[in-house]
Assembly symmetry: C2
Homo-oligomer: 426 residues x 2
Amino acid sequence: MPSNKALQMKNVEAELQKLEAKFEEYKSMGLNLNMTRGKPCSEQLDLSAELNTCLAADDYLAEDGTDCRNYGGLDGIPEARRLFAELLEVPAENIMAAGNSSLNLMYDNVLRALLFALPGSDKSWSAQGQVKFICPSPGYDRHFFVTQSLGIEMIPVAMTAEGPDMDEVEKMVAADPMIKGMWSVPVYSNPDGIIYSEAVCRRLASMKTAAADFRIFLDNAYNVHYLFPEHENKIPEMISLCAEYGNENRIFEFASTSKITFAGGGMACIAASTDNLNWIRKHMSAQTIGPDKLNQLRHVRFLKNAEGVNQLMAKHADILRPKFVLVLDLLEKNLADCPECHWTRPEGGYFISVFVSKGTASEVVRLANECGVALTPAGNTYPYGKDPDNSNIRLAPSFPPLDELKLAIEVFCDCVMLATLRKLKQ
Amino acid sequence: MPSNKALQMKNVEAELQKLEAKFEEYKSMGLNLNMTRGKPCSEQLDLSAELNTCLAADDYLAEDGTDCRNYGGLDGIPEARRLFAELLEVPAENIMAAGNSSLNLMYDNVLRALLFALPGSDKSWSAQGQVKFICPSPGYDRHFFVTQSLGIEMIPVAMTAEGPDMDEVEKMVAADPMIKGMWSVPVYSNPDGIIYSEAVCRRLASMKTAAADFRIFLDNAYNVHYLFPEHENKIPEMISLCAEYGNENRIFEFASTSKITFAGGGMACIAASTDNLNWIRKHMSAQTIGPDKLNQLRHVRFLKNAEGVNQLMAKHADILRPKFVLVLDLLEKNLADCPECHWTRPEGGYFISVFVSKGTASEVVRLANECGVALTPAGNTYPYGKDPDNSNIRLAPSFPPLDELKLAIEVFCDCVMLATLRKLKQ
C-alpha cells in the first residue's frame, strides 16, 4: 500500500469523516442523474434534424431505379452500401446495408453460425459441441449478453494499450477448435477507448486457428467517432488484411450510423467476404424480404458521402469533447491521489474506463446509486458480469448536460474515495 | 372426363392448333410481365407519399416523452402500439410495435421457440425432438420457407371454404406432442382469400393439443385489406378467444402496415398474451436495443388511427378492385369451360388462387414463362414446393398496370388451355 499516490494512514480518518458527511448531503439532494449508457445527447441528435425532412414526397427511387417504398433488395440500396464502403474502406459489393440495429445483425449472425455451417466447415457451430468465444475484457456488455444468451462459453482475455493480449489469444485459438469466435471493437474500444495497433491487427489476421470456421466479430461502432480534430484512428482494413494471410473469411464486420445520425433510427451494415455474404444471404432470405430502404435513402440524401459524415462527426466532437475533458479533469483533480485508481484517456468513442481500488467497484456503484447517480453496474464490462478484480467502472459522459455531468462525476469521485478509504480502514 | 364443362374431344384438335399458333405469336412478342409477387403498385404507394414528409424536423417526441431519435424502447412507442391495438382489437399492452418486416418477427419467433422454452414448458422445442408444424395448404410460400429453413417438418392440411380442415387439425394436434405450431392467415388467406369462419376460429381456440407449448402463428397480414366497400371480414379476436377456452398463450399474432403504407418501409407488430410477450422481451433484449421509433411516429402521424387506416384502405381498394375484377372476368371468359379448372373469388387480400387441370400447373407456369409472363412457380403454395396435385397457381394482380395485367392473364389463360388440351390429347 505505501506508494507515492497513497494517502497517509493518519489522514484517512479525517478524510473519511469529511466524505461521510458529504455523502449524507448528496443523499438529501434528491439527485436523479444517469451515467449508465452511451447515448447521444439531444444536442447531438439535433445535428441530424434534417434527416426527418430531407426526403421529398416524390423522392423514393434509388440510383438503380429501385422503388425504395416497395418490397425487395436484401443487400440494401447501392448508394447506402457505397456510403458504408467509403467509411469502412471495403468494396461496396462486400457490404450489406440493413436496418436500424447493428447489434441485431450481430446477434442474428452469431445465431446463424450456431445453426448453419459456415464457409470452411460442413457442420454448424452447435453441431460440433460447446461453442466458445474469446472476449477481450473489459468489453461491451451487450456483446457479452449476446453470446451468454445463446449459450456460448465466454473466455475473457485482458486488454492491453494496443488491443487484446495477443499472446493469449494466439495460444488459445491455436489449441482449441471449439473457440469459434471473438468479439472485437478495434477503434476506440468499449469501454477503454483503445485503438488496436497494426501489430495486433496483423496478428489477428494471420494467427493460426484450430477451428476452420473461426470468425472475428469486428464491431467497428466507433470507426469515425473521434473527439479531437487531429485524431489518428486508422487501423488496417481487416477483411483484406486477413485475405493477405489466406484467411479471407475470418471477419464479420459491423457498423452503423447510430452514433452518427439517430441512435434509434439509423442504418446498420455488415461487411464480409463474398463467401460470407452469400452464406448470410442464403439464410437471411428466409428471414426477411429486405431492410427499410427509405431510411437508407434518407441517410444517403442527408449524409451524402464520407466527407459529409466527417463534417458531421466534427460537430459531434465539438459537443462531446468538453464533456470528456470535464470528466478527465475532475478525475485528475479528485482521484489523482486515490490508491490503485487509474483511468483511460480516450481520443474517441463514448466511454471513459475507470479502474478503482480492487474489490470496491460494486460498492462505488451502490454508493453512487444511493446518491441518485446511476452508473453502469460494476462487472458489466466483463463476461457474465464478473470483473475478477471488482475494479472496472464504465463512465458514459455523452448524454447528461455539462452541469449535471459535473455534479454526477463529483459524486462519483467522492464515492470512489469513500469506498477506498472505508476499505483502507478495515 | 365427360362433364358439362368438358370440351368435346372432336373439338380438341382444332382448338389445340389455334392455341399453338397463338402461343408462337406470344413468344415472338418479347413480353416481360411479372405476376409473381403480391407487391403493391406505384399508384398504391403514392397514396402514402405524405409519409416521407409528415415528420417536421422537431417532431420526434412520443406521447410519453420518449425521444424517438435515441436508443431504447423494445416495445415500440405507445401510440404505435395503440394503432395496432385498434386494428387488431387487442389491448395495446399486448402489442409490441417493431421494424419494417412482420416476416422477420415470425422467423425470429419460430427460431426463439426452437431455442428457448416457451411459457408452459421447461424445454425448448428443439430439445424435445423433431419439431413439426401444421401448414394449411395452399398457403404462403414464405411461411413454408421459414419453417423449412429452420428444419421443421411441415404437415400440409387442406383448406376448405371456411379455413383449414379442422377435423384433420384437431386429430393431429391431439395425437402428436411434437406438433408445436401451425401457420395461419385467418383473413383473406394467402393465396385463397378465405376468411376463417367463427366455427373454425372456435375450434382452433379450444382444441386440445398434446403439446403444452403449441402455438398458432397467426399472420393477420390482410386484416384490413378488403376489396369491396360492403366487406365483412371480421373474425373473432383470437387471443381472447383462446383465453376463453383456457388457452391464453396459444396465439402469436403478426401484422404490419406493409400493404397499408410502404411495403418495404412500414412497421410491423406482434400481439400475444402477457406471458408470451414477456418471454419475447426476455430474449429479444439480447438481440436489439429497440425498433426504429421514428418510423413508428411517422406512421402514427400519417395514419392517425383505425379510421385513418380505413380511409386509406378504401383508396387501395379502388385501385385494386378493377384489377381483381379484370382477372376474374378474363378467367370466367376464357376458362369457364376448361376441364377441372376453378378459382377463388376473394373479397380481399392480394391473390387469386387458380386450380388448373391436375398435373399441369408446372407446365402452365413453364409455358407462360416462355411467353415472357413470370408466374409464381407451381407448387410454391405448398410445403416443400410440392403440390400433390400439381394444380394450384397463385395469381398476384396488384402490381402490373391494367393493360399489362390484361395481356398477362390472356397469355396465362391460353397457356392453361394449351396445357390442358395437350394433356387431354395424350
